[in-house]
Amino acid sequence: MSNRLVNWFKFASPQTFYPLAGKLIPWFWALTAAFGLAGLYIGFFVAPTDAQQGEGYRIIFIHVPASWMSMFIYLVMAFWAALGLGFNTRLSGMMASALAPTGALMAFLSLWTGALWGKPMWGTWWVWDARLTSELILFFLYLGFIALQSAIDDPRRADKAGAVLALVGVVNIPIIYFSVKWWNTLHQGASVSLTKSPSMAQTMLWGMLLMALAFWMYSIAVSLTRVRAIILERERHAGWVEELGEIRS
């Protein structure tokens, strides 16, 4: 590799990644606040009322970003799991375990806000249609991943077992995404997708995209904080951890 390029593999070592993550976290929190405030302002005050649903539609400003995040975090988790299995790097497993609780939170938020919207709009809290059921399976996959990892004491073995589960579960992601296309579902099709122009009023779309960015930044900030804690816990016997000024008391 040429010398001008950044050597990304350097950051695969927990020792170099730990301070880097520490430096990045405040920036991601700042961006979370900026995008979140802008998104909420547009969502509550600028975006017009929906012609059909009235004010109740405003739940999409949480529901859609949370659902996107729940699927995307799983893909990132599976990516780290595959890297961990392939390269045998320690940090990959730590990244996967750091992402899981946030992913579970997002899946739960998606199901919960969906139920709150479903009762007044559809007339029911819950139906067993393909979209809702596959999202529930995603939530259980996250919980299963967390439970499996905490059931195994040896962190290296826990990482491997978790990685296999994460990779097996990844088939569920396209099922969630395309469920509304492949089968008749009660859940409506995508309002925003890569292949066609969004079927949404402009300001509603802006509010939703800003909230999605805020959710991204939040997820990154929280996961980096969590991965730092995991690094400290697992590397506590390493020399560099013992020399860290911030943990000496």
């Binding site: 012609a51 059909q52 392939g86 559809w122 007339g123 029911t124 990779l167 008749n184 309002s191």
Partner: protein
């Protein structure tokens, strides 16, 4: 081949096999995964007979009739090709409108009348302010008069 290439190949191969298995399973359960049947499917005999199932489609414009008791309603579910009358006693969801999506659970009688025990509104993927909706409605009306 280095050991790590081997491991990546294993992971890739495993995912491919898993994906194929999932695709086959989903394909096999196709008929169990649909949430509702469209009137066309029911007319073609694809819906289960003698058992409860769900019918989904649009509420035909001008087909909603209320009985004097205020709770019993009858309307026609259409997918623009075929249509079935549906009878229901109970409270309709807020988004239930003529010309909009609906999913009803119940049984199809011998006389072709679908007796529903539950009616759900199906929202579409369009989100727009009332003015835009008004404009769309006007455009539809204009298109209709041109056709006539």
């Amino acid at each position: 081949m280095k050991p790590r290439h081997k491991r990546f190949a294993l992971v890739g191969g495993g995912l491919a096999v898993l994906g194929l298995a999932a695709a086959l399973v989903l394909n096999a359960f196709q008929s169990n995964l649909v949430f509702f049947f469209t009137p066309t499917q029911i007319a073609a005999g694809e819906a289960p007979k003698g058992k409860a199932f769900r019918i989904g489609g649009l509420v035909k414009e001008g087909s909603l009739k209320r009985q004097p008791d205020g709770l019993t309603v009858q309307f026609i579910v259409t997918d623009t090709a075929k249509e079935f009358p549906v009878a229901y006693t109970g409270i309709l969801p807020d988004l239930f409108r003529e010309g909009k999506g609906v999913v009803a659970q119940g049984k199809l009688g011998e006389d072709g009348l679908f007796t529903a025990s539950e009616v759900l509104a199906k929202h579409d993927e369009n989100y727009m302010p009332p003015e835009a909706q008004h404009a769309v409605d006007q455009a539809h009306k204009a298109a209709k008069t041109v056709k006539q």
